[in-house]
């Protein structure tokens, strides 16, 4: 309950700030959308940083480090420190200058002018809005999940199916309404102020959390030393031989168990007699959870009962045990080679498989503050539904392979941060700057801010892999990475800090949501209604009302969508980053290449969209894990297929590279053979240096 109070106080403070900033509102649409170009260097830095660092800043960074190790810093953080500032410097300053000069509020207004094409707006609008929507959804859904996690057990009798915490749909609704209120009343100024406040909150709380967690783990050196002993792969970017060896032993045991379960439960090839079962139990010594099945498996394997299984049956067994969808029809090679972990992961996990845990562990699930057995407190508290799902995953699914990062994947990930150059909400933030000099601080401080937030979070993430409670690992296998930070805070600190950190996580989420809501509302108003309705048809006050109306609609629609299909949205988010990156050549060439033509721009956008759709389709709509574009091997270029084992001599690249190179090539080639822009247009956008 303390956590809920802290979150409530934080949200009230935020609302107060939004309403206070609205008192400075000058009553014009330009003030509402661009804060009348009045934002100075510090506010610009904080609001841009808060906007670019989504929920990923605290939760994702520690979660990804937990899953992938320290390599995530180089892939996602230090690369962003270079590329984001590059975009602010090369694009931000120039777009701000043109925006001030010609009165732009949105990207599309700029492109319509620069490319002498009204229709480019019709092409870009659905693409840009369509790619922002998944971000909004991720923010809204994440906020509900975070609030639910931290409040579990807060209610005595209600919300049992949500572990007696605030239901995610209710938490998400509260956050959506809070953001809506301060964006509605405060507009861009309220958003900038709230972002600055929230950025400070999540940065300070991130550092505080780091120091408390490191102290609880026995100090920074001891925490890292444990990782070196138990999970050395997390300290490097390749898989450590010791981890691979341990994994191979566990994987072999798991495969035998999968084969036994398949033979006895799915194919009904044999059943152990009572006598055999008793013998199996007597011969098996360890008594860990689920030991009986393991004992039966060892007995069956030892007595050659599994040797009749065909390769195809074994492959079926592994996918069934790992709750993955069996391919229909089976591929030709199905009876020739057995699946390894890499190829197995490319088969989609069955929706809702974990829900079986509720049935299996029905007797253990209950209010997390009640004892499992009142007569024997040593058995601990009742399980939450989350814990039941966790135990199910840890005992049924295949052990986790020690991940490594390929050189080429690491290199080609550099294309992803280019996406900030085409974020419509960032464009709008750039235009709020009071002067071009206001950009200097964000350009310089952005990489440092990234380091301040990410280095502690990455360390906490890798420490989590080897942290123990009462001698047992704090996190079982297959623990959801994004829940690592919140779980560590909850189990290692008091409810006050837990509530404060949750406020910090929500701050990171809301500081992106607000800008995106405002931006999409602005785009509907400026690029559609005002543009096609005619500028003189609406008074400035009417435009202001329209913007506010659209913001309400966008918040409502986003919240509505957040109630449905959730799992795929997170995967889609990464693809949207790539989509924005593939449009980077367009904005760069618009500012720096006089020969860019209208047709070249269309070619760029159409190629980017076509490649995005094609690759998304080839990845089975993001269902193939670790989907890459591959060069070498039997073919010059290929895409990761289901069940494909990629040889080490094949160059694996992120799909974003092909999208960016493809859209750039199309833009250049078409621009070179189509009519150049009018001289008066070039004069406007490329004035002679005085």
């Amino acid at each position: 309950m303390v956590e809920m109070i802290v979150i409530g106080v934080y949200l009230s403070l935020l609302l107060g700030l939004g309403i206070f900033s609205s008192r400075l509102f000058r009553g014009t649409s330009k003030d509402y959308m661009l804060a009348s170009h009045s934002i100075g260097p510090f506010l610009l830095l904080m609001s841009i940083f808060g906007t670019t660092m989504t929920a990923f800043a605290l939760v994702g960074s520690s979660g990804e480090a937990y899953a992938e190790g320290i390599g995530v810093y180089g892939m996602l953080a230090s690369s962003s420190g270079i590329i984001h500032s590059l975009c602010f410097f090369l694009l931000g300053v120039k777009l701000w200058t043109l925006g001030r000069k010609y009165g732009y509020t949105t990207q599309i207004q700029f492109f319509r002018d620069r490319l002498e094409s009204d229709k480019i707006g019709l092409l870009l609008f659905p693409i840009l809005v369509g790619m922002v929507i998944p971000y909004l959804l991720i923010g809204v859904i994440s906020s509900g999940v975070v609030i639910n996690s931290v409040t579990e057990g807060a209610f005595a009798n209600t919300f049992a199916q949500y572990d007696y915490g605030l239901p995610p749909w209710l938490g998400a609704l509260v956050i959506s309404i809070v953001v809506l209120i301060y964006v509605f009343f405060g507009g861009m100024r309220g958003t900038a102020w709230a972002n600055a406040f929230q950025t400070m909150v999540f940065m300070v709380l991130g550092v505080v959390t780091f120091s408390i967690i490191s102290a609880k783990l026995g100090g920074v050196q001891e925490a890292t030393q444990k990782v070196l002993e138990k999970n050395p792969t997390k300290l490097i970017r390749s898989a450590d031989p010791a981890d691979i060896e341990e994994y191979e032993t566990e994987f072999a045991q798991w495969k035998t168990m999968a084969e036994y379960n398949y033979a006895t439960k799915t194919a009904n090839l044999f059943t152990l007699s009572d006598e055999q079962t008793q013998q199996a139990y007597a011969e098996f010594k360890p008594r860990m959870p689920g030991w009986q099945v393991k004992a039966e498996t060892v007995f069956a394997a030892k007595n050659g009962m599994l040797s009749d299984l065909t390769t195809a049956q074994k492959n079926d067994a592994y996918l069934v045990q790992d709750d993955r969808t069996l391919p229909e029809p089976r591929p030709e090679w199905w009876n020739e080679k057995t699946l390894d972990h890499e190829t197995m992961e490319q088969f989609l996990r069955v929706d809702g498989a974990e829900a079986r845990a509720y049935k299996i562990f029905e007797a253990n699930i209950g209010h997390p503050n009640e004892l499992l057995d009142p007569e024997d407190p040593s058995k601990g508290l009742k399980w939450t539904r989350k814990k039941a799902r966790g135990v199910y995953r840890a005992t049924k699914w295949a052990p986790q392979y020690p991940h490594s990062i390929g050189y080429w994947q690491f290199l080609t990930y550099l294309f992803v941060p280019l996406s900030v150059g085409m974020f419509p909400h960032l464009f709008q933030h750039w235009l709020t700057a009071r002067s071009a000099a206001s950009f200097k601080l964000p350009v310089v401080a952005h990489p440092l801010f990234i380091a301040i937030v990410w280095v502690p979070c990455v360390l906490v993430g890798i420490w989590a892999t080897s942290a123990t409670v009462d001698g047992r690992p704090m996190f079982p296998p297959h623990f959801p990475p994004n829940a690592v930070l919140a779980t560590m805070v909850k189990s290692m600190t008091g409810p006050l800090l837990s509530g404060l950190l949750t406020a910090g996580i929500l701050a990171a989420i809301m500081s992106s949501l607000d800008s995106q809501f405002l931006c999409v509302g602005t785009m509907f108003t400026e690029d559609v209604v005002v543009h096609y309705g005619g500028k003189n048809r609406f008074s400035d006050r009417q435009i202001l009302y329209l913007a506010r109306f659209f913001i309400i609609v966008i918040v409502a629609v986003t919240y509505f969508f957040s109630l449905f299909e959730q799992r795929r949205v997170f995967t889609l988010g990464v693809w949207c980053f790539s989509g924005f990156s593939s449009l980077f050549p367009l904005v760069f060439a618009s500012l720096y290449w006089k020969k860019l033509t209208k047709a070249g721009a269309y070619a760029c956008v159409i190629t980017a969209a076509s490649l995005w759709i094609y690759l998304f389709w080839m990845s089975d709509f993001a269902a193939i894990a670790n989907f890459t574009v591959n060069f070498g091997g039997d073919q010059f270029m290929s895409f990761t297929q289901r069940g494909e084992h990629i040889e080490s001599d094949v160059i694996q690249t992120q799909p974003v590279m092909l999208m960016v190179l493809g859209s750039t090539l199309a833009m250049i080639l078409v621009s070179l053979v189509t009519p150049k822009p009018k001289p008066e247009t070039l004069v406007r956008f490329f004035p002679e240096k005085s």
């Binding site: 810093y73 001030r100 070196l228 300290l235 390749s238």
Partner: protein, 79 residues
């Protein structure tokens, strides 16, 4: 100096691909893996490089071209 700064940006992108620390488990100060420490240093180096960029590569000619100071909220007319 302008070329030096852009050369430094290019150098940052090149040294970002630190294959030489890929398998190195050395701990700096006893707790930061060298692969993480190196990239944290890249973040600091990036900040310094961008500081140099604001000193030596700032597009003054563009900046002079735009109106300065907060606008009064009225739309600037299309030129």
């Amino acid at each position: 100096m302008k070329y030096v700064v852009w050369g430094l940006v290019l150098l940052l992108i090149v040294i970002h691909q630190d294959f030489w620390y890929w398998n190195d488990k050395t701990l700096i100060l006893g707790f930061i893996p060298i692969g993480l420490f190196y990239h944290a240093c890249i973040s600091v180096a990036a900040a310094f490089t961008w500081y140099l960029a604001t000193l030596f590569c700032w597009p003054e000619e563009l900046v002079e071209d735009a109106p300065t100071g907060p606008s009064n909220g009225e739309e600037v007319q299309h030129g």
